[in-house]
């Protein structure tokens, strides 16, 4: 099997996870106008919880399930405890613009610190329910395992579900309306606070799933998901922060790109590449490859 093809296949499962992270970031962005840097910390903590569940019960499925549920609950709690008061105080001036960024960064530090305190800093191996050995098709091995298949399948399922909810359901309409015009939405009867909390829960759950999907092939440590955050953010920007499909496609594209870099240039260049891509998109096409150019409404 040609190196190129196997590289691209590797890129597929990477891309799936980046897409998931991107979608979680976009979800929070579209419902709250905040980029949640704490996403990495939430995902890490959720994954550690999954690890504990696995240690206690030996069941991988239970671990995934509880990671997701914990991620969702944590996301909702963060909205109630942090975002709600933050939005209430939204004034103007540099404090208001910077406040959500600082708050989510602070939260990131707390979540990573707490994870470190409870589980220590050493790298842990996370188990997986499927074999991570390459599958064989027609006698030759491809660098795509049953686990990769599961990863891609799960990510796809989640993204399709989110997309469907966002675009086709009443809840999704409420979320979009609340994000674009909270006042008008409230006058129309949308309970914007509740809707936003749901958005954060969904995003937290998606982050938890992403964490559980990526750690078996790498490792788990309090800041092991920082890179995933940066890649997820890059993917979201490439797709244009406003569209989940865009984020998903961006994740896929980034996955392919980084796989190629990994194969032909080495792992120390992956980060640089992502950074260059990020910069290029932001400078040349800030609305992302999919987004519509929007001006400021005066």
């Amino acid at each position: 099997m040609s190196t190129l093809l196997s590289t691209l296949i590797m890129g597929l499962s990477l891309g799936a996870i980046y897409s998931l992270m991107a979608v979680a970031l976009i979800l929070v962005w579209r419902s709250t106008r905040v980029v949640n840097f704490a996403q990495a910390g939430q995902a890490v903590l959720s994954t550690y919880i999954g690890l504990e569940i696995h240690r206690m019960t030996g069941s991988y499925w239970l671990a995934i399930l509880l990671s997701i549920i914990f991620g969702g609950v944590l996301g909702g709690l963060i909205d109630l405890a942090l975002v709600r008061p933050l939005l209430r105080r939204a004034g103007s001036g540099p404090e208001a613009a910077v406040a959500p960024v600082i708050a989510t960064l602070g939260l990131l530090a707390v979540l990573q610190g707490v994870s470190g305190m409870l589980w220590g800093g050493e790298l842990i191996n996370f188990p997986s329910a499927f074999s991570t050995a390459g599958l064989s098709i027609g006698g030759s091995k491809i660098p795509f395992s049953a686990f990769d298949l599961f990863t891609v399948g799960a990510s796809l399922a989640v993204m399709l579900a989110f997309s469907f909810i966002f675009q086709r359901t009443g809840l999704g309409l409420s979320m979009r309306a609340a994000a674009f015009s909270p006042e008008v939405a409230q006058l129309a009867g949308v309970r914007t606070g509740r809707v936003r909390t749901i958005g954060w829960s969904f995003a937290g759950a998606a982050g938890g799933l992403a964490g559980v999907l990526i750690t078996p092939t790498t490792f788990l440590a309090p800041n092991s998901l920082d890179l995933l955050l940066v890649f997820g953010f890059t993917a979201a920007v490439v797709g244009g922060l406003e569209s989940m499909i865009g984020g998903a496609l961006g994740g896929l594209a980034l996955g392919f790109g980084l796989a190629l870099v990994l194969q032909y240039a080495g792992s120390s260049y992956t980060f640089m590449t992502a950074f260059v891509v990020l910069l290029a998109v932001l400078l040349l096409r800030p609305q992302g490859l999919i987004g519509k150019r929007s001006g400021r409404r005066v």
């Binding site: 309306a177 674009f180 008008v184 939405a185 409230q186 006058l187 129309a188 009867g189 309970r191």
Partner: protein
């Protein structure tokens, strides 16, 4: 019945609404007129909960409006169309309308309401799938009102519907409001700078200046009071 008693709202140091009291009978149309900055919008925004009242009371039937969070008023039959084109430009026309009835959940009547609204504003029906940002000013106002009507309100608070619209369009919209009110017994509170048009379809009128009521009474009486018009309405 809409009961407002000594309602006062402060905006920082400025008293935007100053001990305003009036009544609006069910099925009537009350025009709230006055110059720019007179406190008309603040009055409506206080009723719908977008700003907090400082003192006084306001109730619709047996519901205390001042105690309700904004997202709940619609569930008690009160719809507020704020000033400016209050449509959500990023959504489609149809989505804007659907938004207005989301709180009604799976009520099968929603479809009926929707066709009624589209009968009232056929132009919207032609553009259902288009983005709301592609509508003209008049169409956007129709969409905003249509969205409010999707909630089947009993009390409709309209804030300057004529702002920025051509006279023909204004006439059309006001005519629609008037006809609809008479047909359904809707209570309307109509805030307007365009006093002529507002007084044309109102039963009662109150004139605000600097947050206070300076005159109130039958719409015809206010309309024919020349000194009043010169002093507070600019014509």
């Amino acid at each position: 019945m809409l009961r407002i008693d000594s309602l006062t709202t402060d905006h920082g140091q400025v008293r935007a609404v100053d001990r305003v009291s009036f009544r609006a009978e069910v099925g009537s149309c009350t025009a709230v007129i006055g110059a720019n900055g007179a406190g008309k919008s603040s009055l409506l925004r206080t009723l719908s909960g977008l700003v907090k009242a400082t003192s006084g009371s306001a109730s619709w039937g047996d519901v205390d409006l001042l105690k309700l969070p904004t997202s709940e008023i619609v569930r008690h039959g009160v719809a507020h169309v704020p000033e400016g084109r209050s449509v959500i430009a990023e959504l489609s026309v149809e989505e804007n309308l659907t938004l207005g009835a989301l709180w009604r959940g799976k009520d099968p009547d929603v479809a009926v309401t929707k066709s009624e609204v589209l009968d009232l504003f056929p132009r919207l029906g032609e553009r259902l799938k288009q983005g709301a940002d592609s509508l003209s000013g008049g169409e956007r106002q129709m969409l905003a009102i249509g969205r409010a009507l999707m909630a089947r309100p009993k009390l409709l608070l309209l804030d300057e519907p004529s702002l920025g619209l051509a006279p023909i369009v204004i006439e059309q919209i006001f005519h629609t409001i008037d006809t609809m009110r008479k047909a359904t017994g809707l209570t309307v509170v109509l805030v307007e700078q365009n006093a002529v048009s507002a007084l044309g379809i109102a039963n009662h009128a109150i004139v605000l200046s600097l947050g206070k009521i300076v005159a109130s009474g039958e719409a015809n009486a206010i309309a024919s009071d020349e000194s009043l018009r010169h002093a507070y309405l600019g014509y």
